[in-house]
């Protein structure tokens, strides 16, 4: 006998929504902090307390918080498994949210004692999530998505462990010259190991599912994961032992991985049956060529004209142009989808039930994403050229777009 969606199914939707909207609120706060401090970033001072606070709000408060919520929903879908310890999910949210908020505050006011306390809370929240996800994912059948998700979780573990070590070093210094080296590895593991592997792994399910793509060759998917994984470790060794040849080689291997991912996504799109697919999915797919082009242009200009590697601009593009942009794209598709399922799932087939596409305005969405794109391009140029005032103006545009975007998504909850 078939039953209607159960309470557990409905809770499945509430849980990711809580994570995602907390993440979006923190994203707006982070953009406000970045706007105020964009001048310092353009002048080449990324390590000021407000900017450290902002980076953690974006990566832990927005990126990881959103990824956690999305994974509680998407991992069971993508890997055909059930969350192993559902009772852990809400306490995990509470601990992690308090930890990240406290951590961002401690960094902003730069109080090492508070940093150690809230850093520890954040780590405990992250570890609870990693544990739950690893035991959940392990029961899935072998495959590229499973490999990517497990690797991403391993890198999240290493990233938070390194982060905690760095926070403790602020409180009681013991790392000396290793602090900066570990800091670079911390950024590498977080941006490429955790976020990029996760984005790739989940995209191998989401992109074909939302574009209705079938019968495509999938050999580039495992290649992309293995190249990226190998490249990250080679680059990490280069960072740790200050060996330029290793970090460059690592970068090249990572690039191969990214290219393989791009080819795989192109194959998916080329074999789609849905001619018109949604704005959110288009944006998520666009993020890769967009950020790759910006990174290459920044590096070429930096090396050719300024004779320096434009580290700040490259890290900015990886975090905002790639990670944040992919997430913002997917959320534009996933939030209406989840809310429709929650609100109307039990009334499916009845009169008066809106269509999924009526939950969100694609026209307004095009405006918000266009504003994001323009702001990211000009911000990157301003960071490469060290134009502090210019960067402040365009970052204000980014802040405005992030407020409009978040309100647009919040508006879905009124339908």
């Amino acid at each position: 006998m078939l039953t209607a969606p159960s309470t557990a199914d409905i809770e499945d939707v509430k849980l990711p929504m809580i994570f995602i909207f907390t993440g979006l609120a923190l994203f707006v706060v982070a953009q406000l902090i970045l706007t105020i401090n964009m001048g310092a970033l353009a002048r080449g001072l990324p390590g000021t307390p407000p900017l450290l606070s902002c980076a953690h709000l974006i990566l832990l408060g927005f990126g990881t918080m959103t990824a956690m919520g999305a994974m509680y929903q998407l991992v069971p879908v993508a890997l055909q498994v059930k969350i192993r310890y559902r009772k852990l999910t809400y306490p995990q949210y509470g601990l992690y949210a308090v930890g990240v908020l406290g951590l961002a505050f401690s960094l902003y006011v730069f109080k090492p004692a508070l940093l150690a306390i809230f850093g520890t809370l954040t780590v405990i929240g992250a570890l609870m999530f990693i544990f739950n996800m690893v035991v959940t994912t392990r029961s899935a059948e072998k495959g590229t998505i499973k490999t990517a998700v497990l690797l991403a979780l391993a890198f999240l573990f290493l990233t938070v462990l390194l982060g905690l070590t760095l926070a403790l070093d602020f409180y009681r210094p013991f790392l000396k010259s290793w602090h900066e080296r570990l800091f670079h590895v911390h950024i590498l593991f977080g941006t490429l190991g955790w976020f990029t592997l996760l984005i790739m792994g989940l995209s191998f399910k989401l992109a074909p599912m939302f574009t209705l793509s079938h019968k495509y060759e999938s050999g580039f998917a495992p290649a992309s994961i293995h190249f990226l994984h190998t490249g990250i470790w080679v680059a990490a060794l280069g960072f740790l032992f200050h060996t330029l040849i290793l970090s460059t080689l690592g970068g090249v291997i990572v690039f191969f991985g990214i290219v393989c991912y791009g080819i795989q996504m192109k194959k998916v799109v080329d074999h789609r049956l849905k001619k018109k697919y949604d704005l959110g999915i288009k944006i998520s797919l666009l993020a890769l060529p967009f950020s790759l082009a910006l990174i290459i242009l920044s590096i070429v200009y930096g090396l050719a004209v300024s004779h320096a590697f434009p580290t700040i601009a490259v890290v900015y593009v990886i975090i905002i142009g790639w990670i944040a942009f992919v997430i913002l794209g997917y959320l534009y598709k996933i939030i209406p989808f989840l809310w429709w399922t929650y609100k109307y799932g039990e009334k499916a087939g009845q009169k008066g039930v809106p269509l999924l596409k009526e939950m969100m305005s694609e026209t307004r969405g095009q405006w918000w994403f266009a504003m994001f794109l323009i702001a990211i391009i000009i911000n990157t140029a301003a960071l490469v050229l060290h134009l502090a005032t210019f960067a402040f103006i365009t970052q204000s545009l980014f802040l405005l777009s992030s407020v409009c975007y978040t309100l647009e998504l919040a508006n879905v909850l009124r339908k």
Binding site: A78, Q80, A348
Partner: protein, 101 residues
């Protein structure tokens, strides 16, 4: 009186909310069994394993069957063999998605 033809017509009103096409034209319905007590068993699949609209589509089928028969003793069985392929779609569905590609 309900029979296979009637059930098939009812299922044409069950729309996949993501694609906006009914589940019959999508080729998701593999079998219909109508029993003496007027209960119905629908054997079906989804376009991809783990499709998040699984419950939603099942609920819509149950609603349509309940409205037609007045009772709820129906079964929707989800199967993955044979695996769904685009070839199972009707020409109408193909046209709706991409002008017949």
């Amino acid at each position: 009186m309900i029979d296979n033809e009637k059930v098939l017509e009812l299922l044409k009103d069950v729309i996949d909310p993501e694609l906006g096409i009914n589940i019959v034209d999508l080729g998701l319905v593999y079998g219909i069994d109508v029993y003496d007590d007027h209960s119905v068993k629908v054997t079906m699949t989804l376009t991809t394993p783990g499709c998040p609209l699984h419950n939603t589509i099942e609920t819509a089928i149950m609603y349509a069957l309940r409205e037609a028969t007045g009772h709820t003793h129906h079964v929707v069985e989800l199967v993955w063999e044979p695996q769904w392929t685009p070839d199972m779609m009707s020409e109408t569905a193909k046209q709706a998605l991409w002008g017949g590609r």
